[in-house]
Symmetry: C2
DNA sequence: CTTGACTTTGTACCTAAGTACAGGGAGGAT
DNA sequence: ATCCTCCCTGTACTTAGGTACAAAGTCAAG
């Protein structure tokens, strides 16, 4: 009686129906049992798992990483905590690297726009363009 | 005599040969003239343009945006500077938003790992997993 | 003249995370 | 019995920026 149809599970977990089927195919959720007619029957645990997937994605994990995360957390040995921790620390490092790259890009772009605003009255050529075009400055 | 073959232009601008053809198809570089046999003939300006594209990509511009940038800079009216400036300012905003998102993700992940390291001796369940799985905390 | 390195075109494949659609079956209300 | 809505499968398409490959033509050296 607690069985949910695909549209129900999709709605409860705020994803598209196709996404549910896609997660099943990617083996991120277990293969659900079926009615005699072939309809999938989901449980509230499936809803929780999909929400877990979505929250993990927001934290920057890919579906493959999430699959790993799930298998670690399903495996209830005492060591699992260690592995997940390592995963997360690594992910934090990756995010930090991304932030650094973006900061650098931002700085470059800001420098260029400052130059551009400053020298506008001279010849009409934007320093952003000329700096990108000509001067083989960084290689 | 200054004509460059595709492999030469690719090497000089540090991209794959296929990438050069791809940029031509995407109209990021002008259609080069051909020899009677159909071989493309490039110039040093093409090398500069490809380098421009690559540098712009590093600054976070997409190929479509770069195409715009090129058409603005080719159009030598006095207003071009203004447009490029606006483009860049907008891009800076986008980058800032991205950085903010990443900072937030990083903070969440850090909080979780701190909790995880702290409470490791209790029951072996990692707080990262349990916090993602159960507690419908944010929605 | 043959070999090897290069070029041409067109098409298909790649990652990531889905979305869309076609063609068919099922369930329940009228 | 019919209608509407839902579900099934399988396949193709999407974005972005390329990469890879096959079959064929070209060029220069030996």
């Amino acid at each position: 009686m607690t069985g949910l149809k695909i549209s129900e599970v999709a709605e409860k977990s705020n994803v598209n129906i196709e996404t549910v089927r896609y997660y099943e195919k990617r083996q991120l959720i277990p293969e659900p049992p079926r009615t005699r007619a072939g309809y999938r029957i989901f449980s509230l645990e499936d809803v929780d798992r999909i929400k877990f997937i979505k929250r993990s994605q927001e934290l920057g994990f890919t579906l493959n990483e999430i699959k790993q995360l799930i298998s670690i957390s399903d495996d209830k040995t005492q060591v699992n905590s260690e592995e997940v921790l390592q995963y997360s620390v690594q992910k934090i490092d990756e995010i930090e690297a991304q932030i650094k790259d973006l900061e650098k890009i931002k700085k470059t772009l800001q420098d260029l726009t400052v130059q551009c605003s400053g020298s506008r009255s001279s010849d009409g050529r934007c320093p952003i363009i000329t700096s990108l075009t000509g001067g083989d400055s960084h290689e």
